[in-house]
């Protein structure tokens, strides 16, 4: 099992579904629990997950997928251990789907090696050890939901009872409707049913809640938690930070085909800088601003100051305590895109490169 410092924050009693309070809780634990340091370990190797002797459920060893000059996946290395719930988090086009496709033997890596349960992906898939739900996975039309689930269940080496699957996936109410006459959210749940209709040890979900409304999304993750309670491993791709945050024990942040961060939700947010503060200031004193507490990133355009902060309260109080009176103050949760920019900027600095954030003033 993964033993990162911030893991306890996942089950923090104060935790609610509310993203705002969630950020605070997660960050606090990461800062005091040493999670922020553990994230600095070498996330490109297996070193951080040592101590378990069993073979990893999934391992990517320096895997790349190139389409001409486009590097969809670029030197990706990671390992998943049994029982983990892991989010693959990245913006659209980050290489999430390509990575999952390669894991599921739908695409071949240009370079590198992927293993599932110690064997090659194709045989792992064919032996029924992985149940998967793809964004691009279609359903057979002209049959009912029950007929389709029955068919795919029959194809599984270790099938679950069909009625139980229909209930668990929340599709029992419309089991006798035709597959091609369902709403987007219902279709997603049928895809989910196909992923859990057998006793697979690993569940792979690509953007599972894409077409779901907020309520359905909540129900989905409730049932998903029951699925993994028995010790199944879950890997899911998402571009919703909140979703990764609420459902995963561990988040892998990928962007432009590379793994940028690997840690608990608390660690990832602490690393990204959890809040963005922006205000106008008549006389901008850059050295002072750079010295602000909890500052992760600073951007100045004329009289507009934008700060990414891992503790927005502390940062803002320091500005006010210095006697400054900024106007148009806004404090917002950092969107995922910005979180990525922060992590990418950090990554580029670590590599001594001038990345896309070169036009910004970064500390």
């Amino acid at each position: 099992m993964y033993t990162g410092g911030g893991q306890q924050s996942k089950r923090h009693p104060d935790k609610t579904g509310d993203t705002m309070s969630h950020y605070g809780t997660g960050y606090g634990t990461a800062r005091t629990g040493g999670g922020a340091t553990s994230i600095d370990r070498d996330y490109r190797g297996a070193a951080g997950y040592g101590g378990t002797s069993s073979a990893p459920v999934v391992s990517f060893q320096n895997v790349s997928k190139h389409y001409g000059s486009l590097k969809a996946v670029d030197g990706l290395s990671l390992e998943l251990r049994a029982g983990e719930t892991v989010a693959l988090l990245g913006p659209n086009g980050a290489g999430k789907s390509t990575s999952l496709d390669m894991l599921l033997a739908l695409r071949k890596p240009t370079r590198g090696k992927i293993e599932m349960f110690g064997s090659d992906p194709y045989h792992a898939v064919k032996s029924g050890r992985v149940g998967a739900m793809l964004q691009s996975g279609g359903l057979m039309p002209e049959v009912t939901v029950r007929e389709l689930v029955t068919l795919v269940t029959r194809l599984h080496p270790r099938p679950e009872p069909v009625d139980a699957t229909l209930k668990r996936a929340g599709v029992a109410q419309f089991a006798d409707q035709r597959v091609d006459r369902l709403s987007g959210g219902q279709t997603q749940r049928v895809r989910f049913a196909l992923a859990i209709c057998g006793q697979s040890e690993l569940i792979v979900l690509d953007e599972p809640t894409a077409a779901m409304d907020v309520e359905t999304r909540r129900l989905f993750w409730d049932s998903m938690k029951e699925e993994v309670a028995g010790g199944r491993t879950l890997l899911f791709a998402t571009h919703y930070l909140e979703e990764a945050d609420q459902a995963a024990d561990r988040i892998l942040v990928i962007n432009r085909g590379r793994l940028l961060a690997d840690g608990t939700p608390a660690e990832i947010k602490a690393r990204a800088g959890a809040k963005r503060i922006s205000f106008r200031l008549d006389r901008v004193d850059e050295p002072f601003l750079l010295g602000l507490p909890a500052l992760v990133n600073l951007e100045i355009r004329h009289d507009v100051v934008q700060i990414q902060s891992s503790d927005s309260d502390a940062t803002l109080y320091a500005v006010l305590d210095a006697g400054l009176r900024p106007s148009e103050i806004e404090v917002t949760s950092l969107g995922l895109e910005q979180a990525f920019l922060a992590i990418t900027a950090e990554d580029d600095r670590a590599n001594g490169k001038n990345g896309e954030t070169g036009q910004e003033e970064t500390i």
Partner: protein, 243 residues
Amino acid sequence: MSGTLALTKAELKRLMRNRRYFIFTVAFPVVLYLLLGRQFSGQHVYGVSFGAFYMVDMAMLGAFSGALNGNAQRISQEKKDGWIRQLRLTSLPAYAYVVSKVIVSMVTTVTSVVIVLVLGRFYGNVHLAAWQWLAVAVTVWFSATIFAALAVAIGYKVAPDQVQPITFILYFGFAILGGIWYPLSGALKTVGQVTPTYQAVKIGTDIIEGVSVSIGLAIGLVVWLGIFIALATFAVRSTAETV
């Protein structure tokens, strides 16, 4: 194998619900035969009565268009929708999808062939020995199945909205050049006799006439089967990463 069987059963169930599929495969040749089967009695084509020729002709038309049109469109749509992809995540072997499509196509074409032959016997007054009936049925059935392989190639390679014009051209091309619309003669025959549609119909009429079947015709059909299987294999392999 049991997985392939389960998939085939589900495919058949679907097909029973799809009436459009039966229009080209069954209704069209039946109606044509009822309209024209008795029109040219007394005339002979390829050495047999018009009624017998037209029976083999219409059986081939229904069977090959069923194997070609329906399958190509469906496979292309299912590839686009991602159903083929979804199946690749199951324990089914990679070939199971194509195999089940071909089996389903054989089940539908055998229906169409039997119906048209029965019509030939009782409406067209074609009288044959039992072995001749069987030989004609098997010939047409086998020849139509060749087109299921072509349909797989088109379905994998062509987007759903472009499938119809392509199958339309192939359908009319093979029907006209193969002498299905009008018996081949003259210059058209030199070109048309290499088509599998002509070869199938000519073998059928040769069996009815009771003359020995030219080995060239049989070889021709096998060559077409080889070509279409090669095309299908190429199409499936080359699209493996986009399915």
